[in-house]
């Protein structure tokens, strides 16, 4: 994807919005290279949430007084912000959840239990985060459907030629695929996969957690049926996520969570469901967090998604270049043009936890582990990797400190 924007990101200036980045860690300046795990929050987001609590707070969708109306307006305003962000047709297609995991479980349960059975095939990928893998594996088991995966090659890219072989094994009903892989940063050809799924009569369920913070998503152009993402990786508070789904699918689906707000009427004999999207929002929703998410989207839009993508591409290329200094370091994943701002690697003879621990002594925060992608780790033949990930506030000198730390790692274990 060519990045063509005259607007350049001023990461140094943006950092002033993120108070935590100025706090030392263990006495060293913080170099936060773990944004794919969770991003830091700008003041604008924290202020928006606080202001909402201070001026507009009461429960939503029920209070008959002014504060309740303001609270509802804030929550529904956030829904409109998300709709515009995704280019969805209507806010009825925007369901707020507590995170992407809940969103994906919602689809697996509410759609899967009623639409899957023996002879059906549920397809995930070897690159999936557990949250778009385990629910499908589980619901396939519950319904008697077969569960299969699209394999990945040694560079962590999907082998799409396997798709037609899979189709021979049963009626493909679901294709669950991540937009951008969280362990290696692989950008999957989601449009192509969704097109294939549609030819099979299957739905496509996209985990967009690592895409939404960094690139513009157009759900109408994507061709998928459900798209889930979480707020906390995109400058928003924890506890808020989004499930976009095609209205006609949502309308035919049974609800997932049952309780308050998702009903139209309840009697001993019969309960009927509320209209979309409330049908899928049982209980008091995380509405102050939704307001925070809307503020985060506004913040990212102001920075510019094209500029964010270009900034991260520069950092990625710089990092890959500098890691070339270290022959002991093996970088996993596809070439820069097909990956997001994520660098997962192995240091020969050193466990990722030791790498991360030694980097932490220098104030450099990275993730070490299986990143909730154990099938991918198995495919690569490693128990874990160390991962550095970038965001709009990441600076090249943080990459320098990261690389210096890796020199210390290799010296320590030489």
């Amino acid at each position: 994807m060519a990045v063509s924007s005259g607007v350049k990101l001023d990461a140094r200036a943006l950092r002033a919005d993120f108070p935590i980045l100025a706090r030392p860690m263990g006495g060293k300046p913080l170099a936060y290279l773990d944004s794919s795990n969770s991003s830091q929050k700008p003041r604008q987001v924290m202020d928006a949430e606080r202001e909402y609590y201070e001026t507009s707070y009461a429960n939503v969708h029920r209070a008959l007084y002014e504060l309740g109306e303001k609270a509802t307006a804030g929550y529904e305003g956030a829904r409109e912000t998300v709709r515009a962000f995704l280019n969805a047709e209507t806010t009825r297609e925007i369901v707020f959840t507590r995170g992407a995991t809940e969103a994906l479980n919602l689809v697996a349960y509410a759609w899967g239990l009623d639409n899957l059975g023996p002879g059906d095939l549920v397809v995930a990928t070897e690159l999936e985060h557990h949250s778009n893998f385990v629910p499908w594996q589980f619901i396939a088991g519950r319904t008697g459907a077969e569960f299969a995966v699209v394999p990945a090659n040694e560079h962590g890219e999907l082998e799409l030629e396997a798709l037609d072989e899979l189709a021979a094994r049963g009626t493909v009903k679901v294709v669950a695929v991540g937009y951008v892989n969280n362990s290696l940063g692989t950008v999957n050809p989601v449009e192509r996969i969704a097109g294939w799924a549609r030819e099979q009569g299957a739905i496509t369920v996209v985990d967009a957690c690592q895409a939404a913070p960094h690139r513009r998503i157009d759900v109408q152009a994507l061709g998928a049926d459900f798209v889930a993402f979480t707020g906390h990786k995109m400058c928003a508070p924890t506890g808020i996520g989004v499930l976009w789904g095609r209205r006609e699918l949502f309308e035919r689906m049974s609800p997932f969570g049952l309780g308050g707000d998702m009903i139209r009427s309840v009697s001993v004999e019969k309960t009927t469901w509320n209209e979309l999207p409330q049908k899928f929002e049982a209980g008091t929703p995380p509405f102050a967090q939704a307001v925070g998410l809307a503020a985060a989207i506004d913040y990212l839009e102001a920075a510019g998604f094209e500029a964010i993508e270009a900034h991260e591409r520069d950092l990625l290329e710089y990092t890959l270049g500098r890691l070339g200094e270290l022959p002991q370091v093996k970088v996993w994943g596809p070439p820069a043009e097909r990956r997001g701002g994520i660098v997962s690697f192995d240091v020969a003879g050193v466990h990722p936890h030791d790498v991360a621990q030694i980097l932490a002594y220098d104030g450099v925060a990275v993730r070490a582990g299986h990143h909730c992608t154990q099938p991918l780790m198995t495919r690569l033949g490693v128990p874990a990797t160390t991962r550095a990930s970038f965001y709009l506030y990441t600076l090249p000198e943080e990459i320098d400190r990261f690389v210096e730390g890796l020199h210390r790692v290799t010296k320590t274990f030489a």
Binding site: D354, P383, A384
Partner: protein
């Protein structure tokens, strides 16, 4: 001594790079394996008893994982060789931690204690005795 030098002190790195008692014992009298799911550390331990069926005559391990988990298990094999199985089965964990001798965060504590947990399970299984209730703080380890 700063934190870094304290944790990655020479003796730890030496045990990690040159693990003592590395390998397997065929037809071991006691054996078990375990992992730390958080880190992906894995350890399997094999024990051979002496003619009295009680003295730990030989102990070996294989595993992969972080320096702390592998070095601590290596130190453990040196520590328990020649001692009685009954005694080692209830070895206080501080005895190993003192030997490891580095400051450990709660996460790394699990790494350091993985080998000891596996060894105790191996011994209790061989003796048919119940595993003592002393695993608070290491309950995420999967040992069988």
């Amino acid at each position: 001594m700063n934190e870094f030098d304290a944790m990655y002190r020479e003796v730890i790195l030496d045990h990690y790079k040159n693990p003592r008692g590395h390998g397997e014992i065929e037809d071991a009298d006691a054996q078990a394996e375990g992992q730390n799911p958080l880190c992906g550390d894995e350890v399997a331990i094999y024990v051979e008893f002496g003619p009295d069926g009680e003295t730990i005559e030989d102990v070996k391990f294989r595993g992969r994982g972080c320096a702390i988990s592998q070095a601590a298990t290596s130190m453990l094999t040196e520590m328990v060789k020649g001692r009685s199985a009954t005694e080692v089965a209830s070895l206080p964990r501080d005895e190993l931690l003192d030997e490891v001798g580095i400051p450990l965060t709660p996460i790394r504590l699990k790494c350091a204690l993985l080998g000891l947990g596996v060894l105790k399970v191996a011994l209790h299984k061989a003796k048919g005795t119940p595993l003592p209730e002393e695993w608070a703080g290491v309950d995420e380890l999967q040992i069988s």
